[in-house]
């Protein structure tokens, strides 16, 4: 199984753990990720509010760069995933816009025909293309007893017809059950983490973060799993600030779902990027995962 | 291009139960659509004989639309499937005769789908407009050359008859 791989900027730096664990897990599962050569930033959310054409062209460039023999692209970052999908579908709906975008791309001798590449999120790919049996086969360290809250955020499940229910997604829940984790109810699983609101209005952003942490704590989750660098950053890096702001004392590790998958598959924790998170995950994992992995 | 003023003439065969009523509903709902499709009512799309379609094209129609109930919703249970089978056969023939297969179109519209039928009609009219006029009779007429030639023989013979005796 070969896919074009679009890591995006966050995975280069702040979410390096995500990139490391994605590659490690993909490798183990036989997913060949071919990183797009010379990819550029997707522009996140900011560009669209400035200039639609530029925003689209910047994103479309990445699609245009995908090798012709590949027809699917995987983006682990939620914003990257959404942007790639958005531009592909905007180009499909509006041929005039598609023309303009292609005129921009022509400056770099590039061209993209909407629909040529199918944009996939990593979770969809692991859940659908790999599937339950293959996943279960690979588990060497069942996550029995580990209580996880699966956090989807907004951008993966909305607004496009995706691979999961937009209001109450379940695919990550299912995946975690396959590897033996105990998935706690997490009613706010598709609520917003605040995104860049931390830069604009801390009280607003902190309240959103607090709700998520509070809900996970209420359901006695050992950790929260993310699949978006922004979500992970907000919940993890701001956890202490939120605590001091509200006088709370949450200590919930926030990691990427691929990191935990890697643990279940018995991969080396270092190679999965553990230790880069601010609220440390390792103590919780060590405490809960008492039964040593069969092959560890 | 001449097509700017070209108004396609299209004959529509609509089944009595679904599509004709959809056209009635489009009227009742005052949905405006292109006036180019002239409707002939048949009891069922299954009544549409390929001869009807060919006849309309031969007489100068630029396109023919056949409309029936949705598959599985035919008033006569499954006769629209027969219309569908003939439709594909006809398209196969039209291609072989050098006609654009898009000059005939089969659409489904339930009695409740006035809006959809109007959209189908508008779309079809635009598609036929793009194809341009068909003007089939001009295709087999010999542009006056033929009559001229026959008359020339008659004249030649007459003249030689006059000279002979």
């Amino acid at each position: 199984m070969k896919y074009a791989y679009y890591p995006g900027c966050s995975l280069e730096c702040s979410s390096a753990a995500y990139d490391m664990s994605v590659r490690a897990v993909a490798d183990l599962l036989g997913i060949e990720l071919r990183e797009i050569d010379d990819w550029n930033c997707c522009g996140a959310t900011e560009y669209f509010s400035q200039d639609e054409l530029t925003a689209c062209a910047v994103i479309a460039r990445n699609l245009a760069l995908i090798e012709p023999q590949l027809d699917q692209v995987v983006a682990p970052c939620a914003a990257c995933y959404l942007n790639l999908r958005k531009v592909d579908s905007l180009m499909k709906e509006d041929p005039a816009l598609a023309d303009k975008i292609n005129q921009c791309l022509a400056a770099g001798r590039l061209h993209y025909d909407p629909g040529r590449v199918r944009v996939r999120h990593l979770l969809d790919l692991i859940h659908t293309d790999i599937g339950e049996t293959a996943i279960k086969d690979k588990v060497v360290q069942p996550l029995t007893g580990l209580r996880v809250a699966c956090y989807y955020g907004c951008q993966i499940v909305r607004p496009y017809d995706g691979f999961d229910n937009p209001e109450q997604p379940v695919k990550l829940d299912e995946l975690m059950t396959w590897v033996g984790a105990e998935v706690v109810d997490f009613p706010v699983k598709a609520h917003c983490c605040g995104g860049h609101m931390t830069q604009i209005s801390e009280p607003q952003a902190f309240e959103l973060i607090r709700r998520l942490l509070h809900n996970a704590a209420e359901y006695r989750a050992d950790l929260i799993l993310c699949m978006c660098p922004m979500c992970q950053l907000n919940l993890d890096a701001y956890q202490n600030r939120v605590n001091s702001f509200f006088g709370t004392n949450y200590q919930i590790p926030i990691i990427f779902f691929t990191q935990l998958l890697g643990v279940a598959f018995g991969l080396d924790w270092k190679k999965l990027g553990f230790g880069k998170e601010i609220v440390p995950a390792e103590p919780v994992l060590r405490k809960k995962l008492t039964a040593p992995a069969a092959t560890a | 291009m001449a097509n700017d003023t070209f108004e396609p003439k299209i004959v529509g065969f609509l089944c009595n139960w679904c599509s004709y009523r959809a056209a009635d509903l489009a009227g009742t709902a005052r949905i405006k659509y292109s006036p180019n499709v002239r409707i002939i009512r048949v009891m069922c799309s299954g009544r549409v004989d390929p001869t009807f379609v060919l006849k309309a094209l031969a007489l100068g129609a630029d396109g023919v639309m056949i409309a029936g109930c949705h598959p599985g919703e035919c008033h006569y249970i499954e006769q629209n499937y027969k219309a569908m089978r003939r439709y594909y056969m006809l398209k196969h023939m039209l291609r072989a005769l050098g006609l654009e297969e898009d000059r005939i179109r089969l659409v489904w519209a339930s009695a409740a789908e006035g809006q959809q039928l109007a959209e189908h009609i508008d779309k079809f009219v635009e598609d036929v407009r793009k194809l341009g006029p068909l003007n089939w009779p001009a295709n087999w007429q010999e542009n006056g050359e033929r009559l001229h030639a026959v008359e020339a023989i008659a004249k030649e013979h007459e003249e030689s008859l006059e000279v002979l005796p």
């Binding site: 209001e167 709700r211 | 056209a23 009742t28 001009a138 008359e151």
Partner: protein
């Protein structure tokens, strides 16, 4: 001899004349179309004066054909045919063309609309000249009627017919008649007890000498046509012999297997493996549920058999096929409730104290699983606050776009019951409050006064994720209150989802068997939405109740009675006229190739092996014309839609192409030069 054609172009007030130059169309037809001897326009052709004009012309001008260019033939074809008949002209020599629905109402350009109207008139004139006088057929009507569905609509129809003295077969899929109404506690807005008004009707139907009940039975196959349908029904094995069972109930009492009852009790209560759905069931003969029965599971038990005092249990019983001959069929197959799990953000199936409307109906019912007590899923705690969410799966483009009609009133009824039986606060979350029948608005006001809270807004989410201490342990309704223009979070103990009424899952399948169609949503299509709401496009088949569209009990009852009245009219008349629009085979031309034999879904074409020809059984032919189009020998002709008629219509409709430019008017077989 040339025909003498009269052309009548209707103004329809300004409905046609406003967009089509009707005077010009009439003038043009008179001047240009061959054999047209009279061409007139008139304000309202369908008025008695308009009709009289046609009748007079037929007599004075000796018209042999009439063309009326007006509205849809579906509206007034009968009117003008009658006018012709009055003047001594065979009604099938009149042709209508539709220049209102198909021209004036859908056009924007007067010149183009007029051109289209001219083409349609030319088509009708050319066609009508080829039309032939036809005589309708008459078929005897079997006085027996089949009613499909034993809910309130079907029951009403059954009783009306039976009381009038006609035999009725009532087929019901479940083990008892009664339908959804049997599950309800109270009915809105009068709050009378549902069972109290329904059960007398049920037992009346059960005992009526003119009614034959087939419960736990389904329609398998329908053949024939109006007046003489033949219906095969499959009576599922009950494993209880009906003639022996007295309904004593010992078997049910002694059955050791108890299972959750997902049908009648909506999953809130239990039943045995052998059961009658509810105590007042008609008939009171139980059914063994093979899915749950221990004997069917592991060949043990047979307690019921041992204990039955009349030896009525029969584990070897098989499904039985029964053939019924009936003249008419009334379809009253009702509805099912929207699967609320399809809207996961409302939490049904995930959050314990979210209930569906049907569950709540059972909960309120004194004979129901909680004995009528309103309690949370734990079976004992009374809620302090209850939220009722409207439009769950209806008025929602993700699910069903239609309004489910009855839910607002049912929600108000629930509100009243909660207020009456508990001390809880009740919140209704609605999009629009729809209370448009007699006494309904008054009921709404009553609830306003009783203190039910109304929040206008579509609920975003029902969640147990508390943000504030006061939300802890509650279900929180997240909603935008569109009257306040504010987001609100309202914590409650119990949520009731007013799930949409949906067509039965197999409505389309049954429709196919019956030859009646469904709307896109899946409701059966009536013949005319306003003027013929209980008939269908298929003669002899009528619809009643919710299977035709969401409606409340009084409307269902009215429709049941209306359908019965329509059937009675058919029975009383004794025979039914069948349009002579049928196919026939010219035997001399038929070579017996048998292409047509398989094409008729009504099996109306038979093959005469001796003479080696195929033949149309006129009474079974419905006139679709598919065989006419298929006959390779051109041996089949369709009355009123013959090849010649349609060819002429095509020539007429392309009048401008044929007679206009391009020399397309050259007729075959004629010398090119004069």
């Amino acid at each position: 001899m040339a025909e003498r054609v009269g052309v009548y172009v209707c103004h329809c007030g300004s409905n046609i004349a406003g967009m089509v130059d009707v005077e010009e169309v009439a003038r043009w037809a008179g001047a240009n179309l061959k054999d047209v001897v009279v061409a007139r326009d008139y304000k309202f052709m369908c008025s008695s004066l308009g009709q009289a004009m046609i009748e007079e012309d037929i007599k004075k001008e000796g018209l042999t054909r009439v063309v009326v260019a007006a509205c849809s033939p579906h509206l007034h074809e009968k009117t003008f045919r009658r006018a012709c008949e009055n003047a001594g002209l065979n009604p099938y020599l009149c042709q209508m063309t539709n220049i209102r629905e198909h021209v004036s109402w859908v056009s924007k350009d007067r010149a183009k609309a007029t051109e289209k109207a001219r083409a349609l008139v030319a088509a009708a004139v050319e066609r009508v000249k080829h039309q032939a006088p036809l005589e309708p057929f008459f078929v005897k009507v079997n006085p027996a009627t089949l009613v499909i569905g034993g809910g309130i609509a079907g029951l009403q129809a059954t009783l009306e017919l039976a009381d009038a003295g006609y035999p009725v077969y009532l087929v019901e899929r479940t083990p008892s008649i009664g339908g959804h109404m049997a599950q309800f506690d109270k009915t809105f807005p009068t709050l009378d007890c549902s069972a109290c008004i329904l059960t007398p009707k049920m037992s009346e139907a059960g005992q009526h000498p003119n009614v034959t009940l087939f419960t736990y039975a389904e329609v398998e196959e329908v053949s024939g046509s109006v007046g003489h349908f033949r219906v095969k029904i499959r009576k599922k094995a009950r494993y209880v012999e009906e003639d022996k069972c007295t309904g004593c109930g010992i078997c049910v009492e002694k059955c050791p297997r108890k299972v959750v009852d997902h049908d009648f009790e909506a999953g809130l209560g239990y039943r045995k493996a052998i059961y009658t759905p509810f105590p007042q069931a008609v008939p009171r003969i139980p059914v063994i549920d093979v899915e749950s029965c221990i004997w069917f599971e592991r060949q043990k038990c047979r307690a019921c058999e041992k204990l039955c005092p009349t030896g009525a249990i029969n584990f070897d019983q098989k499904d039985e096929e029964i053939t019924l001959d009936v003249g008419n069929i009334i379809v009253a197959t009702g509805w099912k409730m929207f699967d609320c799990k399809k809207i996961p953000q409302y939490g049904y199936g995930r959050l314990a104290n979210v209930f569906t409307a049907l569950e709540f109906e059972r909960m309120c019912n004194a004979a129901g699983p909680t004995g009528g007590k309103i309690v949370l899923r734990d079976g004992k705690t009374e809620p302090q606050s209850v939220a009722i969410i409207h439009c769950v799966g209806s008025r929602d483009s993700n699910h069903n776009e239609y309004c489910s009609g009855i839910c607002c009133m049912a929600a108000l009824k629930f509100g009243h019951l909660v207020l009456e039986k508990t001390k809880a606060e009740v919140y209704s979350f609605y999009i629009d409050m729809r209370t448009n029948q007699k006494g309904y608005e008054e009921f709404y006001h009553r609830l306003l006064e009783e203190g039910m809270h109304f929040v206008r807004g579509k609920v975003a989410e029902v969640t147990d994720a508390a943000r504030r201490p006061e939300e802890a342990g509650k279900l929180i309704i997240q909603v935008e209150d569109t009257l306040m223009g504010k987001q609100r979070r309202i914590p409650v103990d119990m949520v009731i989802l007013m799930g949409a009424l949906e067509p039965q899952a197999d409505a389309k399948e049954l429709g196919l068997k019956l030859g009646i169609s469904c709307s896109m949503a899946g409701w059966y299509t009536e013949r005319h939405p306003k003027l013929d709401p209980v008939a269908t496009m298929t003669d002899g088949i009528f619809v009643a109740g919710v299977c035709q569209g969401p409606k409340d009990i009084p409307a269902s009852v009215a429709q049941g009675a209306a359908a019965a009245a329509r059937v009675m009219a058919m029975i009383t008349k004794g025979d039914v006229m069948i349009e002579p629009v049928v196919a026939s085979i010219i035997e001399e031309k038929c070579s017996g190739c048998r292409i047509c034999n398989n094409l008729c879904p009504y099996n109306a074409i038979e093959y005469d092996a001796e003479k080696q020809v195929s033949r149309v059984i006129t009474a079974m032919c419905k006139g679709c014309g598919t065989c006419v189009a298929a006959c390779p020998a051109g041996a089949i002709t369709g009355a009123h839609f013959s090849n010649e008629q349609v060819f002429a219509e095509i020539e007429g409709i392309l009048w401008d192409a044929v007679h206009g430019n391009g020399g397309a008017g050259v007729k075959e077989g004629q010398p090119v030069s004069a």
